[in-house]
């Protein structure tokens, strides 16, 4: 009568031990894979960070270049307007002088 009762109590700790072992193995494997994935994520984050800095440098340079070009274009346009106006004023003055009979001055 005592044998059937005592058998499960002896096997039970062994089953728990095996279950704990399997869980520990699974945890170790998952932890290792997680560590590898973490490394991969860190590398990707570093690469993205570096690329963003690189693009920021390029963008800053492009802004400066665009500013220099715009400044030059506007300055040249301003000079063009100024010379056009001066030329027009001279032509009008010459026409006025001609109409007054001052051909030599015109």
């Amino acid at each position: 009568m005592s044998d059937p009762v005592s058998t499960p109590t002896l096997r039970s700790p062994e089953r728990w031990k095996t279950a704990a072992l399997v869980l520990t193995i699974a945890t170790t494997v998952f932890a290792s894979i997680l560590a590898a994935l973490q490394t991969d994520a860190d590398i990707r984050a570093s690469t993205a960070n570096r690329d963003s800095q690189f693009l920021a440098v390029l963008g800053t340079g492009e802004l400066q270049r665009a500013g220099l070009a715009a400044n030059y274009e506007i300055t040249v346009l301003g000079e063009l307007f100024k010379h056009s106006q001066v030329g027009t004023v001279f032509e009008l003055t010459a026409l006025e002088q001609e109409s007054r009979g001052e051909d030599r001055l015109a």
Binding site: T28, A35, T39, T47, R50, F54, G61, Q64, A69
Partner: protein, 226 residues
């Protein structure tokens, strides 16, 4: 009874052997992690070097652009005064002619100095009468030491090292799993010990073979030994 007779004779020897293998695997894991850290550090160094180079290149390019547009503004002013001087010289009025000659003799050379070589070198003259500023910028960049730096080459090399780091971590994971199985072998008995010991050794063999293969492959990709 059978185990009780067999274990006392062989167990200390097996425990010692397992402990020795655990020590070897631990040392190998430490060396693999060290190597991985060196590679990670080199990858970070190359990325930083590339960024520093990118800033240098950009600073050089900005200076070239500034110089070219400064020359262009002076050249525009010079060309306007040169046209004025030509118009005065070709005038019928002797006073205007004299003024034009004086402008040519005294003013234009001074205006030409800050405009050179854009306003003086015929290479930069366009048929429309304007100046080829893009050509001037290209020439300035071609003569610059900073423009010769190649940040993207550093980035590519850094990326290869980061990739190597990824695969080396896989090797370290294999070694860690091996270490786990060997630790299990140390606390188990008889057949289970033999089985776990063999599994641990298999993972160790895989990890130890993996690391030099990765080293060799990336040494080839990087064009030489690291």
């Amino acid at each position: 009874m059978k185990y009780a007779d067999a274990e006392p004779a062989g167990q200390p020897r097996r425990e010692l052997a397992t402990a020795n293998v655990i020590a070897i695997v631990s040392l190998t894991t430490a060396l693999a992690v060290w190597w991985t850290s060196i590679i990670a550090s080199s990858a970070a160094d190359l990325s930083r070097h590339g960024l520093i180079d990118a800033i240098k290149v950009q600073a050089g390019a900005s200076e070239d652009w500034r110089k070219a547009y400064e020359e262009a503004a002076s050249a525009a002013r010079f060309s306007a005064y040169a046209a004025e001087a030509e118009a005065l010289v070709s005038s019928a009025d002797p006073a205007a002619q004299a003024r034009g000659e004086n402008l040519k003799a005294y003013l234009l050379p001074n205006l030409q100095l800050p405009a050179a070589p854009l306003a003086t070198d015929p290479v930069y003259a366009l048929p429309s009468g304007a100046y080829d500023i893009a050509e001037r910028i290209e020439d300035l960049q071609a003569g610059s030491d900073l423009a010769a730096l190649d940040p993207e080459a550093s980035f590519a090399r850094g990326d290869r090292m980061a990739s190597q780091q990824r695969w080396l971590v896989v090797g370290s994971v294999l070694l860690a799993i091996s270490l786990f199985w060997l630790a299990v072998a140390q606390i188990t008995h008889a057949r289970r010990r033999a089985l776990t010991f063999v599994v641990g050794l298999a993972f160790f063999g895989a990890g130890v073979s993996w690391l030099p293969v990765i080293g060799a492959v990336y040494a080839l990709l990087n064009g030489g030994a690291q």
